[in-house]
């Protein structure tokens, strides 16, 4: 018998709004709402991509789920993880273990701490060390890598270290924030195939990117973000055929994909 929970995505974000209070000159107060009424789900075993232009609020969404928004942020709306409400306390208990973040670049590693120590997270037990070694090995990084400091990592290595940091424990939700920019195409595709693999192992993967082409190739579902709202959430195929896109912004994105312009013109004739 199937319960209601099985139909619910692992992560469900409902009507999420993020506001910042900014104090201008004098007593004037300005309210910014860079994220408005966002509803989004990430399923187990699926890769969900959030695609949007720079500044559209993708990172804020990720940070809200991880509970690492700046202290002056006001969060409205509901989030659920595995059927239960995801409040600040529960996030704190889950993050790092069941929810993992793969951040944007090496600047997210402590420049003064070697890779091994950072992955260990203060737990120096042999069990934890073994887990870290295994996680690094998974992405082809040797034992030696643990002794390196972030500045000694090449772009591709850093990317793999960040991936490894997410899989030291077996998280059920993985949020990857722009894992590909600045990487050569081959490496970028490899990173995405690693993420793909994690989702095939049963994790829910939320891929945040502005590269629609890569997302359409690898993700199962695509959510299009535009100025702080999700304007469309469709199966990835929609961006290959162009059918089922209802919002003009996502249609414009589709048209801008290489090769599609001509395709549309042909159809128009």
């Amino acid at each position: 018998m199937q319960t209601a929970q099985d139909h619910q995505p692992l992560l469900a974000v409902e009507d999420l709004t993020i506001r910042f209070l900014q104090y201008g000159r004098g007593l004037r107060r300005r309210e910014l709402a860079p994220l408005q009424h966002v509803t989004l789900g990430a399923d187990r075993g699926q890769m969900t991509a959030v695609v949007g232009a720079s500044g559209s609020g993708k990172s804020l969404l990720a940070h809200a789920v991880m509970g690492i928004l700046p202290y002056n942020a006001q969060v409205l709306g509901r989030m659920y993880f595995d059927g239960g409400p995801l409040d600040a306390q529960r996030i704190e208990a889950l993050r790092g273990r069941e929810i993992a973040l793969i951040p944007q670049g090496v600047s997210w590693l402590d420049p003064l701490m070697n890779v091994g120590r950072q992955l260990q997270n203060g737990d120096r037990s042999p069990q934890r060390k073994a887990l870290c070694t295994k996680a690094l090995q998974r992405y082809g990084l040797s034992e030696e890598t643990q002794k390196l400091y972030p500045f000694q990592l090449s772009g591709g290595m850093a990317r793999r270290v960040l991936m490894a940091s997410a899989v030291v424990e077996a998280p059920r939700l993985i949020i990857a924030d722009e894992p590909t920019p600045g990487l050569p195409a081959v490496t970028a595709r490899r990173v995405l195939s690693h993420l793909r693999q994690l989702s095939q192992e049963g994790a829910a993967v939320l891929l945040i990117t502005h590269d629609l082409e890569l997302a359409a190739q690898t993700a199962d579902r695509i959510a299009v973000m535009y100025e702080g709202t999700i304007v469309e959430q469709v199966e990835a195929e929609a961006f290959q055929t162009g059918e089922g896109l209802s919002h003009p912004y996502s249609q414009a994105l589709f048209d801008a994909m290489p090769g599609h312009d001509g395709f549309l013109k042909l159809k128009g004739r």
Partner: protein, 358 residues
């Protein structure tokens, strides 16, 4: 340093680790020799400049050493011959350039001359005064550094809380208070009103030297030491707090929290680590401030240390002593800054791995 390369290239690179390390060590030793030579030359130039500046400033000073040290009345009752002898004793009849050349010649051969006021070799006077000052300034230096670091990191980590407001407010207030005013305030509270601590000097008045114990010395050093520490602390505290704020807002702290670290674990494991380096530099660079502060503080507390001796020598026209103290202080400050440089190279992995300074 950081190069972007394809993944196949990185495996090749890690294969020749041994040879890279060996070459690195060689270049490190070569470089450390050059580093010490450069620093040594710079110290010599600095001492030359500082002593020359001090000498010519004193020679421009309107204070007449004879008037000050012998007195108008005594001078009046002296014969021309006696006065001439005194003038040559105080160096009043030697042209400045010649006087400086003579001092420099002596100094280069290790002889800093004889103090005109104390009538003893400058080195022995300085040794005695330094013994009084050293513990005072060293304790104040350590206290202001440790206190500034601890309170600064705490305030920075707890930004915006009551604790932060109290600590930062006190530091701002203190940094706006001149050292001599603070000294007078401490004196009037602890010595005059409460009567807990002596008003001045380094030993009880009128006590025979052999009766003076360590306890007496400590009690007399508490107030000047406290005053010196308190006036040196805010600078370090505020800068450490600022750095801590930056660190706590950095991406790597966000990521540490996302990996499940508690607030406290983040502050200790990542905050302290990243603040320690700049704090260390500040601490060694603050040697100069502590020495400068000791001049004022020792004066207010009549504490017979190097700082007070510097004032006495300056006002009394005791050029050899003044130059001796100037050169010694400049060397100390220089060593402080040098230590900061060297330690940075040792502690920061980025500089250490790249060969650093040493």
């Amino acid at each position: 340093m950081r190069k972007r390369m394809s993944e196949s290239e990185t495996t090749v690179q890690s294969g020749r680790g041994f040879w890279r390390d060996k070459a690195l060590w060689r270049s490190r030793w070569l470089r450390s020799g050059g580093f010490l030579c450069r620093k040594g030359a710079r110290l010599l130039l600095l001492l030359l400049g500082v002593s020359a500046a001090a000498f010519f400033l004193v020679s421009l000073s309107p204070v007449d050493p004879l008037q000050t040290n012998v007195g108008q009345a005594a001078l009046g009752s002296m014969s021309q011959e006696q006065i001439a002898r005194l003038r040559s004793y105080w160096g009043a009849d030697t042209p400045p350039l010649q006087g400086y050349a003579a001092w420099l010649r002596g100094a280069l051969s290790g002889d800093l001359g004889t103090s005109l006021l104390y009538r003893r070799p400058v080195l022995s006077v300085m040794g005695e005064k330094l013994k009084n000052s050293l513990w005072l300034t060293a304790a104040a230096w350590l206290l202001s550094g440790a206190g500034g670091f601890a309170l600064g990191t705490l305030a920075g980590a707890k930004q915006g809380t009551q604790a932060d407001r109290v600590i930062t407010g006190a530091a701002l207030l203190l940094s706006g208070t001149p050292a001599f005013f603070l000294a007078l305030l401490l004196l009037s509270v602890f010595s005059v009103q409460l009567g807990w601590l002596p008003v001045g000097l380094s030993v009880p008045i009128g006590m025979a030297a052999e009766q003076v114990g360590l306890g007496h010395r400590l009690v007399h050093a508490v107030l000047p030491g406290l005053c010196l520490s308190l006036s040196g602390m805010p600078n370090i505290l505020l800068q450490v707090r600022e750095k801590m704020l930056q660190v706590m807002e950095s991406d790597f702290v966000l990521f540490a929290r996302a990996r499940g670290d508690s607030w406290r674990a983040v502050a200790v494991r990542h905050g302290l680590r990243n603040v320690a380096l700049p704090a260390l530099t500040l601490q060694f660079a603050s040697v100069g401030e502590i020495l400068g502060g000791s001049v004022l503080v020792e004066q207010v507390f009549s504490y017979p240390g190097l700082g007070q001796a510097a004032v006495t020598a300056g006002l009394g026209g005791d050029v050899p002593l003044l130059l001796g103290i100037t050169v010694a202080s400049a060397s100390l400050v220089f060593c402080g800054n040098l230590m900061a440089d060297v330690l940075y190279g040792i502690v920061d992995p980025r500089m250490r791995k790249a060969g650093g300074l040493l």
